[in-house]
C-alpha cells in the first residue's frame, strides 16, 4: 500500500439544495470551491455543521454520491438518512447555509480494474455506488448494479439509479427480503443467479450494512472475484491522527504486513484504520469473523 498524497482541505461549502429522496432519506447538494480536490467514488468527507446549528461536537463522515463540475468549483451530492442528532440537524439546514467540509478522505473503489464491474448496494449503501456508476459511464464502461433492501420502500433512490444505469446501458438487479420487489432474498442470492451469465473476471464494488458486506466478501473470496467493500466506522478526525477507527486485518494480511513499507498513517500490523487505509478494502484484507 502506497500512501496517497494528502490532498484534503477543510473549506466552507454552501448548501445548494436539500430535498427528500424517499424512504426517509435526503439528498444534499453542496457547492465547494475549486480548491477542493475532486473526490473519487468511495471516498468520503467530514461535514461539520456551524456551531450554532450543531447539537454534536464532531464532524460526520459521509460518502460522496455525486460530483459535478460547476463554474467556480464542484457540486458534491450526498444521500443520507437523518437518523442521529448530527444528521437531523444537517437535514434542518436550508439552501444557502454553510457547512465546513473536509476532504476528500480515504481511498475509493479501484474502478479501473479490468473485468466486469458489478456494483452491490444494500439500502442507502447505494450512495457511493451511484457515483461509481457515473464514473464507469464516463469511462465508457457498462456495469451491473445489484441493489437489495429489506423491502421495496427501502430501495432508496431507485429511480435515480435506474436513470443513471439506463444512460450507460447498465442493468439493474433488485432483491428484497420480503419479496416486495425483485428477487425474494438478499444481494448474494442475486449474485448467485447473475454470475454465471457474466464475463469473468468479476470485480465487485460493494457498500451497505456490515452484515451484507460480510456475505458479499465471502461470496467474492469463494468465487475468486476481486471484491472491494466500503466499510463504516465511528470516527473522530477522519485523517489518521486520532487512531479511532480500527478494523481487524485478516491473518494473511497480518502475515504479509510489511511494517517498513506500510506508512504508519495507514494503520498497524493488527489494525487497519478505516479512514486512511479504507474506507474501501479488498475482501482478503480484513478478518470478517471479527467485524461487527
Amino acid at each position: 500500500m502506497i500512501a496517497a498524497p494528502r490532498a484534503w482541505r477543510q473549506t466552507a461549502g454552501v448548501i445548494a439544495r436539500q430535498a427528500p429522496h424517499g424512504a426517509g432519506h435526503w439528498w444534499l447538494d453542496l457547492d465547494v470551491p475549486a480548491s477542493f480536490a475532486p473526490p473519487a467514488p468511495g471516498q468520503f468527507v467530514q461535514l461539520l455543521l456551524p456551531p450554532a446549528a450543531s447539537p454534536v461536537l464532531l464532524p460526520r463522515p459521509m460518502s460522496v454520491a455525486a460530483v459535478t463540475r460547476r463554474r467556480g468549483g464542484l457540486r458534491l451530492g450526498f444521500l443520507y438518512a437523518p437518523v442521529g442528532a448530527g444528521t437531523r440537524a444537517l437535514a434542518a439546514l436550508p439552501a444557502g447555509d454553510r457547512v465546513e467540509v473536509l476532504g476528500p478522505l480515504g481511498h475509493g473503489y479501484p474502478l479501473e480494474r479490468p473485468g466486469t464491474p458489478v456494483l452491490v448496494a444494500g439500502g442507502r449503501g447505494i450512495a457511493p455506488l451511484l457515483f461509481a456508476a457515473d464514473a464507469l459511464a464516463r469511462q465508457g464502461r457498462r456495469c451491473e448494479l445489484v441493489f437489495g433492501a429489506r423491502s421495496r420502500d427501502l430501495l432508496v433512490g431507485l429511480d435515480d439509479a435506474r436513470r443513471r444505469l439506463a444512460a450507460m446501458g447498465g442493468r439493474l438487479h433488485l432483491s428484497t427480503d420480503d419479496g416486495s420487489r425483485g428477487v425474494r432474498g438478499n444481494v448474494v442470492d442475486v449474485l448467485e443467479r447473475l454470475a454465471p451469465r457474466l464475463a469473468f473476471p468479476l470485480v465487485l464494488h460493494a457498500c451497505g450494512p456490515h452484515a451484507m458486506l460480510k456475505a458479499v466478501a465471502r461470496w467474492g473470496l469463494r468465487h475468486g472475484a476481486s471484491t472491494w467493500l466500503a466499510m463504516e466506522s465511528v470516527m473522530a478526525c477522519g485523517t489518521g491522527v486520532c487512531r479511532g477507527c480500527p478494523l481487524p486485518r485478516s491473518a494473511s494480511a497480518v502475515a504479509g504486513f510489511d511494517g517498513a513499507r506500510t506508512p504508519s498513517l495507514h494503520g498497524n500490523r493488527e489494525w487497519a484504520m478505516c479512514c486512511t487505509e479504507g474506507p474501501v478494502f479488498e475482501a482478503g484484507e480484513l478478518d470478517w469473523e471479527r467485524i461487527e
Binding site: R6, W8, R9, Q10, L48, V56, L57, L58, P59, E100, L102, S233, V234, M235, A236, C237, T239, G240, V241, C242, R243, G244, C245, P246, L247, P248, G259, S264, L265, N268, R269, E270, W271
Partner: protein, 415 residues
C-alpha cells in the same frame, strides 16, 4: 523563526476600524485579524512567548499528545512551526497495536476515546518520524510512555541525544492501558523517584502529564516538582463510560475510556488551578480548549501554556486559530504580554492544602482587571513566590521586551 515573523505580520493593525463594543456578535477571542480596536499595540509588540524550564516557546499553545499525530499529518494545511509546540503521539519502547474497536464514542459536549497508546514504537519513531518532525521546523515535544520507570529511562537514553526534540512530556496518565497507566503512576513517591532518575538523563525540558482522576492533583504536581520536572500538564482525560442500551454493552471496546472536549473544561480548569497553586514550576493547562477564550481562562488561573486536543479533530488548524484569537483578545485590551495575563485569577493556597500551603500568603495575589488598561502595569509580585515562568517577573519582562524588539535566536534553545 519564520513562523514567528509570519504571526507578527498578521498582528492586528492599529489602523484597523474599531468595531462597536456593544454589538459584538461573536466571541471577542475569535475575531478575525484586522478587526481589532484602534488602541491595540503596534504589530509585533505583543509578546506571547513563554518559558518552560530550558524551553522557550514562541507562543503558549501546543497540540496535545495523541491529537496531532507526529506533526506532519496536518502540515499541508497549516504552518505547524507557527504553533508554540507540537507534542507528538506517545511513543513506547515496543510498537503497540492499540485497543480493539470501538475506540471513539461521542458524548454530550465531549468524546470518549480508548485508543490504548497505539504507536509505531521507539525504533520506527527515530528512523521514520523524527526526520519528518525535524523538517517541519516546529518546536517538538516528544511524549513518551512506559510501564515502569526503567522503560522511561531507556526511552530517554535513546531520545535524549536525538536532535530536533526540544523537550519531553512523560505520559504518566493514560487511562486506556492495562499496565503502566494513570492508576500506576498516581503515586507521588513513584513520580518523584522516576523524575529524579529521568532528570539525570537530559537537560531538555521534562514535562509530567498527570491524571485528573486523583484525590489531589496538587500532591502529584508537587512530587513532580521535587523530582526535578520542569513543568506539569494538568490534565489528561477523565475516565468515563458510555453504554449502548440496545446492545447492552459499553460503546467502547473496553469498559471505560478517556473523556475530553468541552464537557471537561470546568473540571480540568480547576485541576490546572490546583496545580498552579501547588507548584512553582510552570503548569500546562489542558482539557476542552476550543477557543482563544478557553485558553486565556487557563492562563488566568495560572497556566503558563495550554494544550489543544479534541479541537484538532474538528478543525485541523484549531490550535493556530486559538493563537491568533489570543493575540487579538489581548491586543484589544492593551495587554502587551501573556505574562501579564498569567495567574490573574490564581488564588493562594488555603489552609486545607496542608502545612506546605500555610507557609504561603493567603491573600489573593492579583485582582482580575481584564478590561482596564491598567493591566499593563505589572501585577504586584506574589509574596515569597516566583512567577509561574520560574523566573523573577521583572527579569521575565526584560527578556520579553528583548525578544519582541529583535528577532534574535532563542538563547536557551534545546535544539
Amino acid at each position: 523563526m519564520t513562523g514567528r515573523r509570519r504571526l507578527e505580520r498578521r498582528a492586528p493593525s492599529p489602523a484597523a476600524p474599531r468595531s462597536p463594543r456593544g454589538s459584538r456578535s461573536r466571541p471577542a477571542g475569535e475575531e478575525p485579524r484586522g478587526q481589532s480596536r484602534s488602541r491595540a499595540p503596534a504589530p509585533g509588540t505583543l509578546d506571547l512567548s513563554v518559558t518552560i524550564g530550558p524551553l522557550r516557546l514562541r507562543n503558549p499553545v501546543l497540540t496535545a499528545s495523541g491529537t496531532f499525530g507526529y506533526g506532519d499529518e496536518y502540515a499541508h494545511v497549516m504552518d505547524v512551526a507557527a504553533l508554540g509546540g507540537v507534542i507528538t503521539k506517545t511513543v513506547t519502547l515496543a510498537p503497540r497495536a492499540g485497543n480493539p474497536p470501538g475506540r471513539i464514542a461521542e458524548t454530550p459536549s465531549g468524546m470518549l476515546n480508548s485508543i490504548g497508546l497505539e504507536n509505531v514504537g521507539l525504533a520506527r519513531f527515530v528512523s521514520e518520524k523524527l526526520p519528518r518532525l525535524r523538517a517541519l521546523k516546529a518546536t517538538v515535544v516528544a511524549s513518551i510512555g512506559g510501564e515502569t520507570p526503567r522503560e522511561l529511562e531507556e526511552l530517554l537514553e535513546t531520545l535524549g541525544a536525538e536532535p530536533g526534540i526540544a523537550g519531553f512530556e512523560i505520559n504518566f496518565s493514560c487511562p486506556n492501558v492495562a499496565a503502566g497507566g494513570a492508576r500506576y503512576w498516581a503515586v507521588p513517591r513513584r513520580l518523584e523517584r522516576t523524575l529524579a532518575r529521568l532528570r539525570t538523563l537530559t537537560r531538555r525540558a521534562l514535562i509530567a502529564k498527570l491524571s485528573p482522576d486523583v484525590t489531589s492533583i496538587g500532591d502529584l504536581a508537587r512530587a513532580c516538582e521535587q523530582g526535578g520536572a520542569d513543568a506539569v500538564t494538568a490534565a489528561n482525560t477523565f475516565v468515563g463510560m458510555a453504554v449502548d442500551l440496545f446492545a447492552m454493552r459499553s460503546r467502547l471496546g473496553r469498559a471505560t475510556g478517556g473523556l475530553s472536549g468541552p464537557a471537561i473544561k470546568p473540571l480540568a480548569l480547576a485541576r490546572c488551578h490546583e496545580c498552579a497553586r501547588a507548584v512553582r514550576i510552570p503548569v500546562l493547562g489542558s482539557g476542552g480548549i476550543m477557543t482563544a477564550r478557553d485558553a486565556l481562562e487557563y492562563v488566568a488561573v495560572g497556566a503558563t501554556a495550554v494544550q489543544v486536543g479534541t479541537a484538532n479533530f474538528i478543525r485541523p488548524d484549531a490550535a493556530l486559530r486559538i493563537v491568533e484569537g489570543m493575540r487579538a483578545f489581548l491586543a484589544e485590551r492593551g495587554v502587551r504580554s501573556i505574562a501579564r495575563w498569567r495567574g490573574a485569577l490564581l488564588e493562594a493556597p488555603d489552609a486545607q492544602d496542608g502545612a506546605r500551603a500555610q507557609r504561603r500568603s493567603t491573600q489573593v495575589v492579583a485582582r482580575p482587571r481584564p478590561r482596564r488598561r491598567s493591566v499593563q502595569v505589572a501585577a504586584p509580585p506574589r509574596p515569597g513566590r516566583r512567577s509561574a515562568a520560574g523566573v523573577p517577573s521583572s527579569r521575565a519582562r526584560r527578556r520579553g521586551a528583548q525578544v519582541a524588539a529583535s528577532s534574535r535566536p532563542r538563547r536557551r534553545s534545546a535544539r
